[in-house]
Symmetry: C2
Subunit: 398 residues, 2 copies
């Protein structure tokens, strides 16, 4: 992944919970960097989510501090104090206002976060910050992830090339005790915070909000985007309107980075062996298609069937039926891996069992449902539900 002008990264091992690995990421931004964010819809958000929401309005960022090992969620007053102290420590070292420091935490819920640990590593972080440490950055924020997640894209705004780089962590929507999907996207494009917020809000609908591992929404889900504006020095025009046609190519590249990261999160779901794409078409609306697709994607019985490499369309019928959205049993058709197994409310007697079995053995499976009611279509990504998921999430005390 290439550097993003105006962004420097550093990681350190602060010993928050893990031994022998990094657990803090610091990102430093040049003056004039704008910021946007979207967060968990949980009614019980973590302290860092509250912090970011409160400071997002000003739209300006100088630093980002992320830690793994402790989510600083359900930590009450001490959690709020920890966010204030973390921002203060980073602001002092970076020479900025605490309100320009953004925060995210992932890890155990309910344990007080000792923010003084950040003070012990902050000078070293500032001193070692460098432009291209993406791999180290993605590793420092991992919890039960099995691989670090990053994606990059280039685009032009006007004639000037701009860069977009992103990192993410996932695993469970909320992992063992390891809460959170976190993702951070960085660009040198000169974009106002309002436009960045629009791009993020629109881009997330088809990417991160279209991914589910287990339907369990974390207290801490955070996606922040930072735009340094450094590409203006290479002639990129400043973009202040979301409708600006010069933004078109950038938006496409930005969406591609979000989609790539989101797919990596689905692929690395806890215990997952298969990436599953669910397509619903012919629904009465797009939002109805989304609800039905999520009902299928979150059904334990559909997910265990896929783990068992069984094209069990009866369970798909069940999941369509329980979604509560308009559906007509007798118009429903279902495909696994491109092979139609059910047609207009009955088993498709013509399908080739061996071909379906072969399709189900692949590591990536597409499951399509056609409702035959309208033109509403949507797509979500998920993974299978294996014994390893239960082991990761249930075995450590038994």
């Amino acid at each position: 992944m290439p550097p993003v002008a105006g962004v420097k990264l550093a990681t350190a091992a602060a010993g928050i919970r893990y031994a022998g690995r990094t657990d803090v990421l610091l990102a430093l931004f040049d003056q004039g960097t704008t910021v946007a964010g979207v967060f968990t819809r949980s009614k019980c958000p973590s302290a860092p989510v509250d912090w970011c929401r409160a400071h997002l309005k000003a739209g300006a960022a100088s630093a980002l501090v992320v830690n793994s090992g402790n989510a600083n969620a359900f930590t009450g007053k001490s959690g709020r104090q920890a966010t204030r102290l973390t921002a203060k420590i980073a602001a002092r070292a970076a020479g900025c206002k605490p309100s320009h420091v953004f925060l995210a935490s992932t890890g155990v819920i309910g344990e007080p976060l000792d923010a003084t640990r950040f003070a012990t590593v902050m000078d070293r972080l500032i001193a070692s910050a460098a432009p291209s440490a993406w791999h180290e950055a993605a590793k420092a924020i991992m919890t039960t992830d099995t691989f670090p997640k990053g994606a990059a894209a280039m685009a032009r705004i006007g004639a000037a090339p701009v860069t977009i780089c992103g990192i993410a962590k996932g695993a469970g929507m909320i992992a063992p005790d390891m809460a959170t999907m976190l993702s951070f996207v960085f660009t040198d494009a000169p974009i106002t915070s309002r436009v960045l917020q629009d791009l993020l809000k629109q881009g997330v609908a088809g990417s991160f909000n279209a991914v589910t591992v287990d339907g369990d929404t974390s207290t801490s889900d955070t996606l922040l985007a930072f735009a340094t504006g450094a590409a203006a020095m290479r002639g990129a025009p400043k973009i202040a309107k979301t409708s600006d046609p010069r933004l078109r190519a950038f938006r496409k590249a930005f969406d591609a980075v979000l989609a790539d990261l989101a797919e990596q999160v689905a692929r690395d779901g806890e215990g997952a062996r298969k990436l599953v794409e669910i397509i619903v078409e012919g629904a009465v609306s797009k939002s109805s298609a989304r609800k039905i697709a999520l009902s299928i994607a979150n059904s334990p019985l559909v997910k265990t069937a896929i783990a068992g490499e069984d094209a069990n369309w009866g369970r798909v019928v069940m999941a369509v039926g329980k979604a509560g959205e308009r559906a007509d049993r007798d118009r429903l058709s279902i495909w696994f891996g491109g092979i139609r197994v059910a047609h207009r409310g009955e088993r498709d007697s013509s399908y080739d069992e061996a071909a379906v079995s072969a399709a189900m053995k692949k590591p990536e499976i597409t499951l399509k449902v056609a409702l035959g009611l309208g033109s509403g279509r949507d797509r979500v990504l998920t993974c299978d539900l294996t014994k390893e998921y239960v082991a990761i999430n249930g075995d450590y005390r038994s």
Copy 2:
């Protein structure tokens, strides 16, 4: 379980799918028997569910035919034909109208049901029907259930004793391919179908509708109640109004039978090792408490934690937060097995870890959440999520 005057039961092995076991239940009712029913909310219900809904309005029943092994769901036109033929076969043998025959099927989805199989056993069923074959009846309708489920209660209407007996099958909300929760309740009380429908609708809210195994709603869930009225011969007054004060004791007994059967369904959830009671109090309303309780009960991360005997209240916070109902993180308190582990938005530092560990090892666990917002309270039952659940539902093809 005692006989219910006016009800006779018989079972047979029709070879619908299973070998070496019974798979058909016939219940015969005396003239004048009333009937009521509640069904799955699935938008893709099975053919027998459609059949029962259509014929329930007349409120009169002469026979009930239940089969296991094939759900007759997503079977299109042939499914509708199969219900018609089944009712016709039973009606001819029992000497009643087909519309007075009620039907339920549980088993594979999407396979055509060969209703002619019922004809081969119908005469034998009629000939062998007897008053007290509850155990055999409960066994004939099992799919992945590990034990047959029955419950009975006595009450008085006026001075006359009346009997209520019920049977059920569960396992997954929809089991391997084995769709369905089915339950049938029988009484000799003289109650109109309208009153019976009221009792059923009200009784189901706190029993069967408060149970979840995996959140997957079957295409076939069916609960039917039959009242023969035979107790009128022993002096029981005919009840035609739900508000009749003479119904009070009966209603209590009726609700107890439903609650007992529903608890057995939760206890015998697929792969379950623990029965889990979720109590939510202090919500803004009873329906809000129900939604939050179901969010906890259906969370894979809460359920795997309980399988791991881990009092993981962080995941409970997550599940409260994702329910979308009003909640204030800083007022939330959580108990496992009667021991408070979190208080007003933070870990309860005073709790005894050893005592909680001991409580989590028990086969029955109560998880209580107090929201501190209002007086809304509700309770649901569920079970833990184990590797056996995944094995039962995913292993048979891998």
